[in-house]
């Protein structure tokens, strides 16, 4: 059985390496960031404030706020461009599902669930 001329094949492939690297460089430089959820920040003041930190391209954000005791109806904010939410709600235990998606891509969505024990912090003004 005759053999493969590996040397000839290598030199041909080597001719491509610069072009492969240039194409890859273009791809990396033009690539949009990959969608991911970084952190959901909660601050408790007079209101329950939530900030969604996520990475992606042309982002939209939403929150589902669920009263753990079921006294208050679940709040579904729907998607918005701002990543900051403020809820004027009674004290209690809540579950928060924070969503982030890329508006131009279908079926792109990441989410994170957290629990919050909310108690209003009243300002002494």
């Amino acid at each position: 059985m005759a053999g493969v001329d590996w040397e000839k094949a290598y030199h041909d492939l080597e001719n491509h390496i610069e072009a492969i690297m240039k194409e890859t460089s273009e791809l990396v430089n033009n690539a949009s960031p990959k969608l991911k959820m970084n952190e959901v920040y909660v601050s408790k003041t007079n209101t329950l404030d939530v900030i969604i930190d996520a990475t992606g391209d042309k982002m939209e954000y939403a929150i589902d706020l669920i009263d753990r005791k079921g006294k208050k109806e679940t709040v579904k904010t729907g998607y918005q461009k701002s990543n900051t939410f403020s809820f004027d709600i009674p004290d209690g235990r809540y579950s928060i599902t924070a969503y982030a998606k890329e508006s131009l891509k279908e079926n792109s969505r990441v989410f994170e669930k957290i629990s919050v024990n909310f108690k209003r912090v009243l300002n002494d003004e």
Partner: protein, 383 residues
């Protein structure tokens, strides 16, 4: 009389005239030479038999092919664009019942996953998809080819469309070389692409007929070449006609709209219309990043056009620089511009290259040359 069976992935029909039309060209030529050839197209759909231009086409899945081979006594089976499923029927036969096997290797079915990297580095999901296919498609195909190239229980021959395609693309992918192989080029139909003597003025008329579906067709280079030529004093004397269709046509050719001497013809060009276009031009601007042979270049050469292209893949096996065409290095726009300029400045040389190109390609890959070689391989030399 011995019977032959061709198993392939697609065959032209009245509804789809251009699916592997080069296979039909072969089958008609085989028939003219007295060979009795049946056609089976592998499919997962249930399809009725079809008839096209005197050829009976059957559609079968791998299990139907296995039954069909058991029920019929074919002396030789001819495979085009082979894969494991197509070969399943052969493996179901007892060793002594197996027919002779001829496998044509054309291109994508025998190349490494990374060969056309420029076609999947456009975005991350394409790259991810290619990496997945590397394991799920390319590895399986490689193991299959290794298997049939090294087995002792098969009477099998391999036909590569060019030596460079074999040595640069197929051998390093598969990792083994079969004992029994032949280099037979794809047909350049010199009956359809007849030579028409070119005048000196014809070198001013430049055409390109290429799909605009992927980057391997290098239409971006054609555009860059024309843009660089536009800075030359003689540019206004040149006339360009760009033919083709595909998702990249508008985006790539947009910069050419500013030039009065560049005409864009967006649309699929029928095979029978190409000789008419060839007749009106002297230079075929056909850069390429990947070609196992370069059939469209060969067709242009047959008609008497001087090809300006790249020394990549199988192309240098068919074009000798400044003798039968002009070759630039991979992706080298400046060299291609210099080559067009050379032809512009050397009218007599242009005419000579034109004549030599046609003669050379006819001798190398003309209908009669290719069919004689194929019939010899199909009908003789089986152990």
């Amino acid at each position: 009389m011995q019977k032959y069976l061709m198993i392939c992935n697609a065959y032209p029909t009245l509804e789809n005239l251009y699916a592997n039309s080069f296979l039909h060209r072969r089958v008609k030529a085989y028939q003219q030479k007295g060979l009795d050839v049946d056609i089976v197209v592998i499919t997962t759909k249930v399809l009725k038999d079809k008839y096209y231009d005197g050829v009976h086409i059957k559609y079968m899945d791998e299990y139907q092919i296995a039954s069909f081979l058991k029920a019929n006594d074919y002396s030789t089976v001819l495979f085009h664009f082979i894969n494991k499923k197509m070969f399943y029927g052969i493996d179901q036969l007892d060793a002594e019942e197996r027919p002779n096997i001829a496998v044509w290797l054309h291109g994508f079915e025998a190349e490494a996953w990374h060969r056309r990297y420029y076609n999947f580095l456009e975005n991350i999901s394409q790259l991810d998809n290619a990496l997945e296919r590397k394991d799920t498609v390319f590895e399986t195909q490689k193991e299959f080819l290794q298997d049939i190239m090294t087995r002792n229980d098969l009477n099998i021959k391999f036909i590569y469309v060019s030596r460079r395609f074999k040595e640069l693309y197929v051998d390093p992918y598969v990792g083994v070389v079969p004992d029994n192989y032949h280099i037979i080029h794809n047909i350049i139909d010199d009956e359809l692409f007849q030579y028409h003597k070119k005048s000196a003025d014809d070198r001013l008329k430049i055409c390109s007929i290429r799909p605009f579906t992927a980057k391997n067709y290098a239409n971006d280079i054609t555009v860059e070449v024309i843009k660089q030529l536009s800075r030359k004093k003689y540019f206004h004397k040149l006339e360009f006609n760009i033919y083709g269709d595909g998702k990249l046509f508008n985006v790539l050719t947009n910069p050419l709209k500013q030039f009065e001497n560049v005409t864009l013809h967006k649309g699929f060009v029928k095979q029978n219309d190409i000789p008419l276009i060839h007749k009106d031009h002297g230079i075929y601007l056909g850069p390429s990043r990947h070609d196992s042979q370069g059939v469209s270049l060969g067709e242009a050469m047959s008609s008497g056009l001087v090809p300006v292209t790249n020394a990549i893949g199988g192309i240098p096996e068919f074009i000798t620089h400044k003798e039968t065409g002009m070759l630039a290095a991979r992706d080298n726009v400046t060299e291609m511009v210099e080559h067009v300029e050379y032809l512009y400045k050397h009218a007599r040389k242009f005419k000579k290259i034109s004549e030599q190109a046609s003669k050379s390609i006819k001798q190398q890959a003309g209908l009669e040359t290719v069919i004689s070689k194929e019939i010899e391989v199909i009908t003789n030399g089986w152990s």
